[in-house]
Amino acid sequence: MERNRLQRILRAAWPRVVAIGILLGIWQLLVVAGVQSPGGASLPGPGDAIGEIGFLVHTDVLVPALFQTLERAAIGYVLALALGTLIGLAVVRVPVLRAGVGSLLAGLQSLPSVVWVPIATLFLAIGGQVENAVYFVVIMGAFPSIAMGLMSSYDNIPPLTFSLARSMGARGPRYYRHFIFSATLPGYVAGMKQAWAFSWRSLMAAELIIGSTASSGLGQILDNGRSLDDLPEMFAAVLTILVVGIAVNDLVFAPMERGLLRRRGLIPA
C-alpha cells in the first residue's frame, strides 16, 4: 500500500523534475556563457540563487515576507471570490445585466491589473496605509475570472437540464441548489483556478510598485534587491514567487478541479 503510494507520487513527479532540471540547465549554461548586465554585473547561477534563499531564510527575512505576502494573497483572493460570485450570480439571474456587464467583464479580464496601481495608491494608500491599495489591485485582477467562469458555465448548461428542472417543478432556492449551482460548479472552479493566477500576479505587481512603504512581502525583497544591485537576491525572490505560484496551483486548485471532473466522468478515472 505504502509502496504503491510512493510509486504513484514518483510517477506524477518525474515529468516535473525533468522540466525543472532542463530549466536549471539552460540557466546554468547562460551563466557559463558569461552573460552580463550592461552595467557589468554577471548573471548569478541557480546555485547562487538557492544559496541566497538559504541566506534569506537564515537571516529571518524570507519566511516573514512569505507569510506577509501569502496573507495578502489569501485575503485579496477571498474578497475577489466573494465579489466575483455576487456579480456572476447577478448577471446570470438578471438578463438585462447580461449584455452590458458581460462584455465589460471580458474587458476587465484583459486589462492588466497593474494599471490600477497608481490610482489605488493615490486614493487608498493614505498615510502609509498601503494594504487597502494592494487589496484593491488584487481584487480588480482576480474577480472578473470568477464572474466570467460562473457566467460561461451557466451558458453551457444543456437546455434539457432546464426542461428537466421545470418538468419537476423545481423553483426558487431548490432550483438553484439542485440544478444551477451543481451544473455551474466545474466552470466556477476553473474560474477560481484562473483567478488565483491573476491575483498572484496582481499582488506581485502591487507589492513591487507600491514598494518600500508597504510592510515587507516578497515583492519588497525583489525591490530591495533592485535598489542594492543584489542580483542573487532578485533571483531568489523570483524563484520563491514562481514556486509559490506553482505550489498553490498544484496542491489546491488542480486537485480540486481534477476530482470534480473525475467524479462526473469528464476525465478518465
Binding site: 437540464t161 426542461s163 418538468s167 417543478g169 440544478f179 451543481s182 460548479l185 467524479r263 462526473r264 469528464l266
Partner: protein, 265 residues
C-alpha cells in the same frame, strides 16, 4: 374533426366526464407573420386514467411539441389542455441524468425537490430501483452505466415524481434493438403494476403497436391527427408476433399514403 376511431368498436372510448387528459382544439404556431410555422393544428384527444397512448409520426409532425405542451414546458397558441390532477412526469429521449449525482440521488431528486422525508424517500427509491432492475447500481454515477441503464434510471426518476401521468418522448430511440426490446417488456410490466397513464411519443410503428392501448397517427405540416387505432392485442406482446406485425403493416401503409390523402375526415 380529424379524429377517426375505426377498425373495431373502441374498447377504450372515454366518456367526457371521466377523461383524465383532455386536449381540445390544440394549436401551436411558432414565430410570427410571414415566418410563422404551424406545428400543431386543431388536435383533440381524450385519454382515460390508466390508458397507454402511443403518438406516432415521422419527424416534424409535431408529436414532441404536443408532448411539451402537455408537460407545461410550452404554451398553446389556442385550444385547451386539461389534466385531471397533478403535474405530469416527463422522460426525454436523452436520459438527462445529472452527472454529479449517483443513480440513487438522481432518482430521489424529484422527492428532494418536493421535500419528502428521508425515510419515505429511501423506501421509494429502493422500490423503484428494484422495479427497473438497478438496485445493484444505486451508487454508480451516470457515466459508469450503459445507455439502457441510463434510461432505466431516467424511468425510475420519472416514476419517483409520483405523478399519475407519465409523458415519454421517444425514450428508447437511441438504444440498440435488443436493449429496446427488453425495456419494452419492462415498461409494459411497470405500467401494469403501477396503473400509470402514459403518453408515449415515437416514430417507430412496431414500438407503438407493441406498447399502446391506442396508436394515434400524426401527419406533418401542419401536425394533426390523421387516424387512431385501438390495439386490442393480448399483453405482453412480442415485437415480431403475427398480430403486432399485421397492425404495424396496416399503420405503415397509412403512413406511406402520407400527407397527400389526409383522409379520415
Amino acid at each position: 374533426m380529424t379524429v377517426a376511431l375505426f377498425r373495431r368498436p373502441a374498447v377504450l372510448t372515454v366518456e367526457a366526464d371521466d377523461a383524465f387528459v383532455t386536449l381540445e382544439g390544440v394549436t401551436k404556431v411558432f414565430g410570427h407573420g410571414k415566418r410563422a410555422m404551424t406545428a400543431l393544428e386543431n388536435v383533440s384527444l381524450e385519454m382515460a386514467r390508466g390508458e397507454f397512448v402511443c403518438v406516432l409520426g415521422a419527424s416534424g409532425c409535431g408529436k414532441s411539441t404536443l408532448l411539451s405542451l402537455i408537460a407545461g414546458l410550452d404554451k398553446v397558441t389556442s385550444g385547451t389542455i386539461e389534466i385531471a390532477d397533478g403535474r405530469p412526469a416527463v422522460m426525454f429521449q436523452e436520459p438527462a441524468l445529472l452527472p454529479w449525482l449517483t443513480v440513487r440521488r438522481n432518482v430521489e431528486l424529484p422527492m428532494r425537490i418536493h421535500n419528502l422525508e428521508t425515510d419515505q424517500r429511501n423506501q421509494t427509491v429502493n422500490r423503484l430501483l428494484s422495479m427497473v432492475g438497478l438496485i445493484d447500481f444505486a451508487d454508480h454515477r451516470p457515466h459508469q452505466l450503459s445507455g439502457g441503464m441510463r434510461q432505466r434510471s431516467a424511468l425510475a426518476r420519472a416514476l419517483a415524481q409520483e405523478s399519475e401521468l407519465l409523458l415519454m418522448d421517444e425514450p428508447f430511440a437511441a438504444l440498440d434493438a435488443l436493449t429496446r426490446d427488453q425495456l419494452h417488456d419492462d415498461l409494459n410490466r411497470i405500467w401494469q403494476e403501477t396503473g400509470k397513464t402514459i403518453i408515449f411519443v415515437t416514430h417507430n410503428v412496431r414500438e407503438a403497436v407493441r406498447l399502446g392501448d391506442r396508436v394515434v397517427l400524426m401527419t406533418p405540416r401542419p401536425g394533426r391527427i390523421a387516424q387512431i387505432w385501438d390495439v386490442d392485442i393480448v399483453r405482453p406482446r412480442e415485437l415480431d408476433s403475427f398480430e403486432v406485425s399485421g397492425l404495424a403493416h396496416e399503420i405503415t401503409q397509412r403512413l406511406r399514403a402520407g400527407a397527400a390523402s389526409d383522409g379520415a375526415e
